[in-house]
Point group: C2
Chain length 161, copies 2
């Protein structure tokens, strides 16, 4: 598999936006509303984060970011987020990005990684994070307004690095 994962640059953002925008339209896995703009997405994904891209045969097929989960006395814990291009699902790109992120986050000095709002009905993601060593440490009832299902529970998932 010729998948390369590297830090993202501003030049990558048009490709990242294509992925981000599609996922926001679907409304089943991320909080970002369907009408999130290019500029807002840039701020979310590229500012005060370390963004990465997954490149397969020259195409950007996925992106992830690492950022502080909280400032100050919570800053030893990072948050990460992953998006795979809809044409490249089921190719373990999410898994490859997660594996990479665990190494990168540790390099950056973080002691743990936390996901704050994993949609409970996103079974494939939940299963992948558990395979990657994350545990469900909390369940927030009706925390996510799913495009098709309405209000569904969200999990908080965590692992030490």
């Amino acid at each position: 598999m010729s998948l390369e994962i590297r830090k993202a640059t501003d030049e990558d953002f048009d490709s990242i936006w294509e992925i981000f925008h599609h996922i926001a339209q679907i409304g089943e896995s991320y909080i970002y509303p369907a009408d999130t703009t290019y500029k807002e997405a840039y701020k979310i994904w590229m500012v005060d984060t370390t963004p990465y891209v997954a490149v397969l045969d020259g195409e950007i097929v996925g992106t992830y970011l690492i950022r502080q989960n909280k400032v100050g006395r919570g800053s030893h814990v990072c948050n990460a987020a992953y998006m795979v291009h809809h044409d490249y699902r089921k190719q373990k790109i999410g898994q490859a990005m997660c594996e990479d992120s665990l190494v990168e986050a540790k390099k950056q000095g973080y002691q743990a990684m936390q996901f704050n709002i994993v949609v409970s009905t996103n079974h494939k993601a939940v299963a992948l994070w558990m395979k990657m060593g994350f545990e469900v440490v909390g369940t927030i009832p009706k925390a996510f307004d799913h495009e098709k299902l309405g209000l569904v529970d969200a999990y908080i998932m965590h692992r030490f690095l």
Copy 2:
């Protein structure tokens, strides 16, 4: 009890800062580091929030805020934070502010309130939130770097409005 709770204005911020700064110095209940500046505190407490103050006989003795916990598909849940002036503890000012915040948050259209990082060793706060109808819905191991105790667990607490 002549406690008045009202929306905060910019003119109140010097008093809010005195409370905030003291709590940041102690480092036992909030993530904000001891060296948080006046300007940073203003941004945290007054921008993109609805801030309130509790006034006792003309003195600002406490402050709280309500804000969106997440954008978009998580925006029906709010977050709130409360600080009581150290000279006015044990006078149920925190409880009065929490009661007020539950009413105000509902007025603002929120469906639930979530606390993201309640320090597990802050027993009085945990007990008060439980009395106010919140439940511990998650425990993040070693999520808070306590000034005296080092890394301690943090709770996620939640209630519907």
